[in-house]
């Protein structure tokens, strides 16, 4: 008996020391179930920068590190959780501009309403009479591919005068650009304007402008590129380094594209055909090509974002009376639909779609389409219940 106990004890010790147990550990989720992760084929140097950017993207800004004094959130990740869509918790308001004559409320805190403040400070309030719109964060996946589509391709996709008569025009956002951005290869210029493509009004030229703007307007963090404090309007020392901004831009560029699921499901296959048949695919273009990119894994590749990166008249229902750059108040950029089926995993189990998150289901989002998309929406309404289900199943598979 005694020796049995001794042996048991020794076994316990040996077992303990040998514990390198794969047993009972958590399996990794499938690549197509999560948004985070690098694109395939990066060099080691690119992967290292991806990791650094990933850390910076989730870095929490404290007051000592430059948060505020007025701000909206303290971390890129709180608005783009898991690199996905944001929630109404961090929804924000922009105000002050209703046409191409620019923002009339810059000295009253425009364009972005920083509605939070660090202790001891007062947050901004929406000035009386200011036109405004609410914005909910989009996902940030696959942006390197969108960034590398050539201007010529976007111009070719546009149809400003609706010459094919399908009721859908679509225009690039010809916009002025800040002097710190560098032009992409073969950038097209028109009357001193360039095509900007990021953001819901396609008001940002590239990911550097979007990132420097986010640090500044969303978190109250100044940089070499955007050195003005949102509260005082005064130029400040950089609170985030240029290196960190570069890392974040590189991270955004090399975040993998969302990978679809269930592509062999018969309903999904039918739904995909319906998507084209009822004209959704005229704006939400399934396949685009990249031009040259210094990142080889992105250069000259075909990808499936379901967007044309163009502005469309979406009708009175989505006209909030506020705009940016040279877009009209009723114009919005077609959002990519890739990753739509994973939106709930970032939005706390619910759905908040369209620019301000007003739609709480995919169907509701479709029914809010108007303007150039009026016909397409009506086509959707006329689908049979089964066909609607198949279309929705397809959208959920993206």
């Amino acid at each position: 008996m005694k020796s049995i106990i001794n042996i048991c004890f020794l076994a316990f010790l040996i077992l303990g020391f040998l514990v390198s147990c794969e047993e009972g550990l958590i399996d990794a989720p499938q690549e197509n179930e999560i948004l985070d992760g690098p694109i395939e084929g990066l060099t080691t140097a690119q992967q290292i920068q991806f990791l650094n950017g990933d850390l910076a993207f989730s870095d929490v800004f404290t007051i000592d590190e430059g948060l505020g004094p007025i701000f909206i959130a303290n971390q890129c990740l709180s608005c783009h959780p898991g690199d996905g869509r944001g929630s109404p918790f961090v929804r924000f308001t922009r105000f002050g501009q209703s046409d191409s004559s620019g923002n009339q409320f810059l000295d009253l805190g425009g364009p972005q309403l920083q509605h939070k403040a660090i202790p001891g400070f007062q947050p901004e309030e929406l000035p009386d009479g200011a036109p405004f719109a609410d914005f909910i964060a989009p996902p940030v996946t696959g942006l390197g591919f969108l960034d590398a589509v050539s201007d010529a391709d976007l111009i070719a996709l546009s149809d400003p005068n609706d010459s094919n008569g399908d009721g859908i025009s679509g225009v690039p956002h010809w916009n002025s650009i800040p002097d710190y951005v560098s032009l992409r290869p073969n950038s097209v210029q028109q009357n001193g304007m360039y095509i900007s493509r990021f953001g819901k009004k396609a008001n940002s030229y590239d990911l550097l402008q979007q990132t420097a703007g986010a640090y500044n307007q969303d978190m109250g963090v100044t940089s070499l590129f955007e050195p003005h404090d949102p509260l005082t309007g005064l130029e400040e020392d950089p609170e985030v380094s240029t290196q960190v901004i570069n890392d974040v831009v590189a991270y955004l560029k090399t975040l993998k594209e969302p990978i679809p699921r269930d592509q062999n499901d018969p309903d999904v296959i039918v739904g995909k055909e319906l998507f084209t048949q009822i004209q959704c695919a005229v704006c939400h273009i399934p396949t685009l090509q990249t031009g040259f990119s210094p990142i080889e894994a992105i250069s000259f590749k075909e990808f499936h974002p379901y967007t044309d990166l163009l502005l469309h008249d979406m009708g009175a229902g989505l006209d909030d009376g506020y705009t940016e750059g040279y877009a009209e108040t009723y114009e919005w950029r077609t959002p990519p639909l890739w990753g739509l089926g994973l939106a709930r995993d970032a939005q706390g189990g619910q759905l908040f779609l369209m620019h301000d998150g007003r739609a709480t289901s995919i169907e509701e989002a479709i029914l809010l389409h108007g303007g150039e998309a009026e016909q397409s929406k009506n086509n959707f309404i006329q689908l049979s219940e089964l066909e609607k289900e198949q279309l929705l199943k397809f959208l959920e598979s993206l």
Partner: protein
């Protein structure tokens, strides 16, 4: 400033180690017998007695006693499929020393080296003046008596490698501060009543402004300046009452609270005074019939967060843990008399942000639960080998699908 303090602390440690070594050498040379006061550490009197209720080495004729403990382990874990592989951790080495300065004056200090000396902390260094059993004065660096774990945290006393989440990730164990106060005990029949009340330095603004991105009391531990002066000139009040019945067990009720923010500087008002208040309850008992030992603690935290700041930082928090330890074998093993083999399980729960979003009225996430089954072997009550498996689920603030984490831990902890 910081550098100086840490060099200073390192010097203390060095001289302490030196004292320890020379004492033991000297002890051997003159063949004076050192006496180990063997205390069964699994049966402390009250939690408040834990600082003295440890195995000490006493030296004949010297009014000094020395002791300490070591905690080391291996860990293999994976979170959502990403594994960090196998690593070995020397979590902490703690040295304590007590001295009876005169009949009614005692000194005790506890110095902890964490992670191979990366962090050095004086967790406790206080002078106790005994006026009567019911009234004692204590001053120096004390451990605030909030809950029970903060005062009774020695590794060898527990069957688990990890410390309870409520103690270290909600409450800031080990949380010590300079200050003073009184404590005492009263006995009648099977009953013991203990009380403690202290004024100390305390928290700062980092509890609602930190890298964790949530209201996090342990964030204040990083600010060593509290050992030099109070952050806002307001004392933190900590008080505890504990009641023990020899056959039933011990129940403790404790409170800690004060103003945490810097509301004034050079006569200028920066903000209104904002409070943090913590309530805790702790219990421990042994079910006589099966010799099952049960210990647990729950804490509720309320923090005044400015309304115009972000809801990322919660105003209310709750956390709890319970350990159930079942000895299954008590006998002679490899010539250790009274060796014990235990089966144990721990439940952890923490909600760092109780409430709902202003924007959507939906529930705010930011919570964690974990279950840890364990096997532990104690060759003597002062040394424990433990094998733990921990499974944990943690949600982000939006209540997105929880991050799952599983770990295997094997470790040892021993008094020396």
């Amino acid at each position: 400033m910081k550098i100086y303090t840490s060099i200073y602390i390192k010097q203390i440690i060095l001289s302490l180690t030196f004292t320890l070594v020379t004492h033991s050498l000297w002890a051997q040379e003159v063949d004076s017998i050192k006496v180990r006061t063997a205390i069964d550490t699994t049966k402390t009197e009250l939690n408040m007695d834990a600082v003295y209720n440890r195995p000490f080495l006493n030296f004949k004729k010297l009014p000094v006693a020395l002791g300490g403990y070591l905690e080391a382990n291996s860990i293999y874990s994976s979170e959502d499929g990403v594994s960090e592989g196998l690593s070995f951790q020397a979590r902490r080495l703690t040295v304590f020393m007590s001295a009876s300065i005169s009949k009614r004056i005692k000194f005790l200090t506890e110095i902890e080296l964490e992670e191979g000396g990366k962090e050095i902390a004086i967790e406790f260094a206080a002078l106790d003046v005994i006026i009567a059993p019911e009234i004692n004065f204590r001053g120096g660096i004390i451990m605030n008596p909030i809950g029970a774990f903060n005062q009774n945290h020695d590794g060898p006393k527990w069957e688990f490698v990890e410390r309870p989440d409520v103690a270290v990730n909600l409450l800031p164990a080990t949380w010590s501060n300079p200050g003073f106060g009184i404590f005492g005990k009263m006995h009648q029949d099977n009953w013991t009543l203990g009380y403690e009340a202290y004024l100390t330095n305390g928290f700062d603004g980092s509890i609602i402004d930190n890298e964790e991105n949530k209201t996090f009391l342990p964030a204040a531990k990083a600010n060593g300046e509290r050992f030099e002066e109070s952050n806002n000139g307001q004392a933190l009040i900590t008080g505890k009452i504990a009641l023990k019945n020899r056959t039933i067990g011990e129940l403790g009720l404790s409170y800690m609270g004060g103003v945490y923010n810097k509301f004034e500087e050079d006569g200028l008002t920066l903000d209104k005074k904002r409070r943090v208040d913590v309530f805790a309850i702790d219990v421990n008992t042994t079910l006589k019939k099966f010799d099952t030992y049960i210990v647990g603690e729950a804490a509720f935290v309320k923090v005044d967060v400015p309304e115009t700041f972000t809801q990322q930082y919660g105003e209310k928090q709750f956390g709890a843990f319970i350990d159930i330890v079942q000895p299954i074998l008590k006998r002679n093993v490899l010539n250790w008399e009274n060796a014990t083999l235990n089966l144990a399980v721990r439940f952890d729960y923490v909600d760092w942000n109780i409430g709902s979003f202003n924007e959507t009225q939906t529930d705010i996430g930011e919570d964690l639960w974990a279950i840890t089954p364990a096997i532990s072997f104690r060759p003597t009550s002062q040394t424990v080998f433990r094998l733990n498996y921990r499974f944990q689920e943690q949600t982000d603030i939006l209540n997105n699908p929880a991050a799952k984490k599983a770990s295997w831990l094997f470790g040892l902890s021993t008094y020396f």
